[in-house]
Amino acid sequence: MKKVAVECRGIGLSYGRTEVLKDVSLKIEPGEFFALLGPSGSGKSTLLRLIAGFNQANRGELLLDGRDIGGVPPHARNIGMVFQSYALWPHLSVADNVAFGLVERRIARDEIRRRTEAALDLVGLREFAARRPNQLSGGQQQRVALARTVVIEPQVLLLDEPLSNLDKKLRVTMRQELLALQRKLGITTIFVTHDQEEAMTTADRMAVLDGGIVQQVGTPAELYDFPANRFVAGFVGTMNLLEGAVSPDGEALRFDIDGVGAVRLPRLADAPAHGRLALSFRPHAVRMSGASASVDPAGGPQLTLPGVVQSSEFLGEFSRYVVRVGTHRITTDQPHLVGVRRIDDGAAVMLSVAGEQLRVLH
């Protein structure tokens, strides 16, 4: 089966005066597992339904394998979608649900039976073929919905929050199964989720949406390490943010942080030497030590900040501290090993972040 690319070019969609999608441009490569990540109301489901054909764009083009499919009705697109609610038909058996699309394609009866069984085998539900959907568990229903969609060999597979109705443990299992299935079939897959962990663990690449605008597209690691803006930084993982004015100070920079005061900052590749600066870093990039500890001179250029521990949570692998630095609250994760003592609330500490862990946000 030929793998196809999906491309959105300048797509805009509004309901009355509400703009739901604003100039969305994306290219999803053939065979890719692509995630659309965003908070609710970001337009990610709308975009997915637009690709399926249930929403119509006001502007822009939707290309499937290089061909504009904007005017093609959903039933003629050969794009498979797994619904958040699964949308299994209660009046049909599991087998009839799966066979539905094949019947629509006027396929011979023997062939339908063979392919239905194969699809049910694929999701491990062959013995449930005669059951009704409401006699299955949530995870099983999910698998039926998946089998029903892949059995028609769609060119593109769309998944609308497919795991959100499952409990946490099942979600992790299903996520791995989904990925394995996608790799096996090689179908271009677009996956909508509001859960960044889900997106990062499964997707080859992902797009972060907010307010109907694509904020950033890239691999999970790119988005995590190099967030393009504050929204992506805050939405993909936890991020600390410091803002202030910079000015040159010899070899280094003088960074006058709002509400904290001036600190020395190593020169950063993409930071201006003058003007406003927004600096971000991940909680686990912060090293925390007692206030009296001297700064390690061999550690290379770094940012150091004095602070006071405000609160802490023990999470097993690490402890998460919230440290007050001036008027800021800095979150820091400290790895936990047997014998490591927890630092008390109210203790004065020194925070340091290595220069290469600092990101300039634009």
Partner: protein
């Protein structure tokens, strides 16, 4: 795959832009056009004609003269007052029966609750005009009860004298509307509402008056408005009881005795529609913004408690009394159908099967007519109901809400008014040399129009319960619009459609007020007309009652069947997951 559906370029572009703008396919537009044509020809045109005639002078110019002569004629003023009085008092009496029963079922845990629910359906399966004769025999001046009272206690109660008879028969027939609506409303009250009041020290009667009843008020009002409209518009009961000094009988008498040209019939029609709309509008108006359906997930409505021994005995005694009265028309009718002679005695003197033999020999064609007219009418109703439901819930066709409004408005059009409108609008119209007003087709269409609101509500409810993603999934897998409707929508709606069919069918089977004007030959007569005809003479009462019993059995069977079907459909088609998409 994709090129097949786009078709030739210009046609494809039109289809695509239709989809884009209204979410409607050419097929659904055609269906919409057919529905509009039907409603325009058989509802708007006849009712419009009635209005125009009521306000038109002999030369066609606008006049209020007919209305002023209506209000200066003392018989008309009296009829108007009587109709209003009967409708209002019937609502009060029906409430007195229904409110305690509803409260009992919802509030207490006892077996009588099932009894009350059955009670709620029993009166509806017998048209009031059929029961009226039997009621006269039991509660009339020389009926069973008064004969016994007179003999043993020396006094009688004028249950059936004059308007009392109409009120008595109508409230016994229509109280289930209040009972059912109020029961549902009470069940939908979250127990937390009640607990909060209890917590603040409000209990007993005060709890009912200050919290429970106000929360259930929308349900009560919906039922009460319906009772008012039904009683105000009823023709059969006053006619059978000889209370002709009311509006509907006056309209009937004017049209049949003075003629189709007499403006008074039209004036009465306009007044009847006006009051029906007013009552329904008031109930909606009062309810506006008061959807108190407060029951949240898992909460099971008001807390129930067990009745103590004494309370239970009292409740059962009350229910038994109501049941006895409610069943009296059924009992009376059955007795009458088997009675050789029943006059001036508490019970018939002797029993016979002769009346049933007469009915089968003379009136088999009436049963056939009923099945034919009502079957076709119900078919039209579910077809239109499904179409309107689909257009409203699944397309963005501009003005689609009007279809619902117009089709539902049929409920405010009394049968006699629709019939008058038909006669006037289609007067002189011939199809293939046969005058339209002489055919049974018009009777059938009148049934379809009048019962459309019932079928429509059923179909709307059925489609509303289907999550749109069930249809989208079918489209996704390659089913076109019509294929999706056929393979997914209709099977899932089947229960609702069948329930709509049955409720249209059974209510049409006992409809008299349009029938009585539209039947021109005896060979066209359905059962309802036959019963009325038989009941006109004392000798015909026996066969009339036998035919009535058959009609009741037919309606009861239909009601039971539709209940079973709906329950089964609900059990098998419960959605796999209730959660919706984002």
């Amino acid at each position: 795959m994709s090129t097949a559906a786009t078709g030739t370029a210009p046609a494809g572009a039109v289809v695509a832009s239709l989809r884009r703008a209204w979410g409607a396919s050419p097929g659904s537009l055609l269906a919409a056009a057919l529905v509009i044509a039907f409603l325009a020809a058989f509802l708007l045109l006849p009712v419009g004609t009635v209005f125009v005639t009521a306000f038109a002078d002999a030369d066609g110019s606008f006049t209020l003269g007919h209305f002023s002569s209506f209000f200066t004629t003392s018989l008309m003023r009296e009829s108007f007052g009587n109709s209003l009085y009967v409708a209002l008092v019937s609502v009060v009496v029906a409430s007195l029966i229904a409110v305690p029963l509803a409260y009992l079922t919802v509030r207490f845990e006892f077996r009588g609750a099932i009894l009350i629910q059955t009670l709620g359906v029993l009166p509806l399966i017998m048209p009031p005009f059929v029961g009226a004769v039997a009621m006269t025999l039991i509660f009339g001046r020389s009926g069973s009860l008064n004969l016994l009272l007179d003999e043993h206690l020396g006094f009688t109660i004028p249950f059936m004298q004059g308007l009392n008879g109409v009120i008595f028969v109508e409230s016994l027939h229509y109280f289930p509307f209040i009972l059912m609506n109020l029961t549902v409303a009470l069940r939908n009250i979250d127990s937390a509402m009640e607990e909060a009041a209890l917590n603040l020290g409000c209990r007993g009667w005060r709890l009912f008056r200050r919290v429970v009843f106000p929360l259930a008020l929308p349900g009560y009002l919906a039922g009460a408005a319906l009772v008012f409209v039904k009683v105000f518009d009823d023709l059969g009961t006053p006619l059978v009881l000889g209370a002709t000094n009311m509006l509907a009988p006056q309209a009937y008498l004017r049209i049949t005795q003075v003629g189709l040209e007499d403006p008074m019939g039209y004036v009465i029609s306009v007044i009847m529609i006006g009051f029906s709309i007013l009552a329904l509008w008031l109930s909606v108006r009062v309810m506006k913004g008061k959807d108190y359906t407060t029951v949240s997930k898992g909460a099971g409505g008001l807390a129930r408690r067990r009745l103590s021994g004494g309370e239970a005995a009292l409740a059962y005694a009350g229910i038994a009394l109501v049941l006895l009265v409610v069943l009296s028309p059924h009992l009376g009718l059955t007795l009458l159908s088997f009675a050789q002679v029943w006059s001036y005695s508490p019970l018939p003197d002797a029993f016979t099967l002769q009346h049933y033999a007469t009915v089968f020999a003379e009136s088999g064609f009436m049963i056939r007519n009923t099945l034919l007219y009502c079957g076709l009418a119900a078919l039209i109703d579910v077809a239109i109901g499904t179409t309107i439901a689909y257009l409203i819930l699944r397309t963005r066709l501009p003005g689609r809400q009007w279809l619902d409004l117009v089709a539902s408005a049929a409920i405010a059009v009394p049968g006699i008014v629709l019939a008058i409108g038909f006669l006037r609008s289609f007067q002189g119209l011939q199809v293939g040399g046969v005058p339209v007003t002489q055919t049974w087709v018009l009777i059938m269409i009148a049934y379809a129009v009048r019962r459309l609101p019932y079928a429509l509500r059923s179909c709307m409810a059925a489609l509303q319960q289907i999550n749109v993603s069930l249809e989208e999934a079918a489209e996704m897998l390659g089913a076109s619009g019509w294929r999706t409707v056929r393979r997914i929508v209709i099977p899932l709606m089947a229960g609702g459609i069948l329930a709509g069919f049955v409720s249209s069918f059974i209510t049409a089977a006992v409809e008299l007020s349009a029938t009585i004007l539209l039947v021109v030959r005896e060979s066209q007569a359905p059962m309802s007309y036959g019963i009325y005809l038989y009941m006109q003479s004392v000798a015909g009462r026996g066969p009339g009652a036998a035919l009535g019993v058959l009609a009741v059995v037919l309606v009861a069977l239909g009601t039971y069947l539709s209940h079973r079907v709906v329950e089964r459909a609900q059990a098998t088609s419960r959605p796999a997951r209730a959660t919706g998409g984002s």
